[in-house]
């Protein structure tokens, strides 16, 4: 998903030979090429491309999976008057506040690892380990961690803060906060790896020259290192943004079921709830289309940013 935009920005396949004087070999090559590309294209067109067009059609119908009644684009304006829809979007908005944190902490960790203290490779492996774990498993543990009788309160008690008794999952806002913390934790591995990869590409001679000229550590970080890492920071922000919008279904499904109330229902979870729990396929399809539009905007912005980079 994330990779799409950067790929499009860098997509410049060599041109195909054209004109009347193509040799027999070139024609054969083109034929083989089309045949070899066809299976991938068909798979994607039938199972992803077709459904997104169907989704737009269904979004303008009243549809419970059996009977379809055409209504038209007014379904969209109608949804704008649904207070739950705005509540759900608000949850997405609040989750976005976690994105800077989910990028900044791994950046700090990457700086730490990049100091190459003996044994740093082991720590890198440990920090990256959660990347292999399912959101289902993460949600399962997080549920126990934040529960009233869970580990968080145990830890608070152990360090003498037993007076602070938390029960984050029992009220709407605090439950979303707990989901956000879990989300930040889960992004540490991926983002740390992105920044470590970036730091390995740094031209150290620039920082060295600045140091010789008397620049301080902070100045070097702000003026030289950060600008050199711009592309990696962008990539990490977009990756995190996309995860916040589209990767949290399983986590929410296991951890809170979208509740309490609509407290942790995000747009992607709302699609599932509307379509499969309330069997309102038409509205579900519409919410899916809205999610797709939001993602497209993020993708287009990313392509723009990368293009201006080059």
């Amino acid at each position: 998903m994330t990779q799409a935009a950067s790929t499009i920005a860098h997509a410049d396949l060599p041109p195909a030979p054209t004109g009347p004087r193509r040799t027999a070999l070139q024609r054969q090559r083109a034929r083989v090429g089309i045949a070899m590309a066809a299976p991938a294209f068909l798979l994607v067109a039938v199972l992803l491309g077709g459904p997104i067009i169907e989704a737009v059609y269904y979004s303008m119908t009243q549809w419970d999976g059996l009977t379809t009644t055409w209504i038209g684009p007014s379904t969209y304006t109608h949804e704008l008057h649904n207070p739950f829809f705005w509540r759900v979007l608000q949850n997405n908005g609040l989750l976005l506040l976690a994105v800077p944190v989910a990028v900044a902490i791994p950046f700090g960790i990457a700086v730490l690892l990049n100091a190459r203290v003996p044994g740093w490779r082991v720590f890198r492996s440990i920090y990256f380990l959660p990347t292999a774990i399912s959101w289902v498993v993460i949600g399962m543990v997080a549920l126990r961690f934040f529960a009233a009788e869970g580990s968080l309160n145990g830890i608070l008690q152990a360090v003498g803060l037993g007076a602070i008794h938390t029960d984050l999952l029992s009220s709407e806002r605090s439950a979303l906060f707990a989901v956000a913390i879990t989300f930040v934790w889960s992004m540490v591995g991926t983002n740390t790896i992105i920044f470590l990869t970036g730091m390995a590409t740094l031209d150290l001679s620039l920082a060295e020259a600045a140091r010789v000229d008397g620049a301080s550590g902070w100045q070097i970080l702000l003026r030289i290192t950060l600008p050199q890492l711009r592309r990696f920071i962008q990539f990490s922000v977009v990756m995190t943004l996309i995860s916040a919008f589209t990767a949290l279904f399983s986590l929410i499904f296991v951890m809170t079921g979208g509740g309490p109330g609509f407290g942790t229902t995000t747009l992607e979870f709302f699609v599932y709830q509307t379509a499969f729990a309330n069997t309102d396929f038409g509205t579900g399809a519409m919410l899916g289309v809205i999610l797709f539009l939001i993602m497209s905007v993020i993708g287009i912005v990313q392509v723009r940013l990368l293009r201006t980079d080059d």
């Binding site: 799409a4 798979l43 289902v136 498993v137 543990v141 150290l204 499904f253 992607e268």
Partner: protein, 283 residues
């Protein structure tokens, strides 16, 4: 890069790192490691207690693991996960290596357009298409077996795999292909006998990345594996959690069991996974 490092060392003899700074960095890294490893420790520790011992304190035992094996078809679900992952990855590798080779080396007129069309599908979130896809696959009678889910996983993994394979084959020199053709091989034979063996590292990257994604997925399996006997371990676990089972140690044993294969793959193929995750950054 290496030469820069070498020069720096030559000009400025390496300073001995101050001990106190090293100790501080190490302490920080250990603290972070504790935070990252805590859930794993929690799963191991909790699963080694009976429910009663977990709630009210008590000695460790294997009671919960035995209960897990009795209560849930974990062996069968692990097998389902393996079948679904293997079949999906096989399809992804099959179509993406061919398409990548075609886009990179067999330049036909619509190549750029078709390539962009496939890669643009990366922008489609699964939630946006799951409803029509669900209806279509139900119409085609594919929800009662692995087939519907396998096809969906394959379609979802193909765009990025195609991007990766195209990039990889583009880095192979054209001469290699032309030499094969001059030797009298067909394009298909050049692909099979020359290009494909050279692409093994990229294929491993695609396989590892997809394995972890498919093994860990809940949504597609939950909706497209309608037959309870076809459920993967992650879906079985997700359904169990949603049922609000109160036996936490059994849940933790299940979580740990479901995570182990992905952890093993991660530990063995860590380098490839990192390559795959950072491949999208571009040049």
């Amino acid at each position: 890069m290496a030469t820069v490092d070498a020069n720096a060392v030559a000009v400025r003899p390496r300073r001995r790192r101050p001990r106190r700074r090293t100790a501080l960095l190490l302490a920080l890294m250990v603290a972070i490691a504790v935070v990252m490893l805590y859930p794993f420790w929690f799963m191991v520790d909790t699963s080694l207690h009976s429910n009663d011992a977990f709630l009210h304190g008590g000695p460790r035992s294997l009671v919960s693991w035995r209960k897990l094996l009795d209560a849930l078809p974990v062996g069968h679900e692990l097998w389902n996960s393996t079948v679904v992952c293997t079949a999906s990855i096989a399809i992804i590798v099959f179509v993406s290596t061919m398409a990548g080779f075609a886009f990179a080396k067999l330049r036909f007129r619509a190549a750029t357009f078709v390539f962009l069309a496939i890669v643009a599908a990366l922008m489609i979130p699964i939630q946006s298409i799951i409803i029509p896809a669900f209806i279509n696959l139900a119409d085609w009678q594919l929800l009662g077996s692995y087939t519907g889910a396998v096809l969906m996983y394959a379609a979802l993994g193909t765009p990025f795999a195609t991007f990766l394979m195209t990039a990889y084959f583009r880095s192979l020199p054209d001469d290699v292909i032309e030499a094969g053709i001059i030797d009298g091989l067909s394009y298909a034979a050049v692909f099979r006998r020359i290009a494909l063996p050279m692409a093994v590292p990229a294929i491993v990257t695609v396989g590892v990345l997809q394995f972890i994604q498919i093994w860990d997925d809940l949504l597609v399996g939950l909706l497209l594996l309608q037959n309870l006997d076809d459920r993967t371990i992650t879906v079985g676990l997700g359904a169990l959690a949603a049922g609000r089972t109160t036996d936490i140690p059994v849940l933790m044993a299940g979580s740990l069991l479901s995570a182990i294969p992905a952890i093993v793959v991660y530990l063995v193929f860590q380098r490839y996974l990192v390559n795959g995750l950072t491949a999208g950054i571009g040049k």
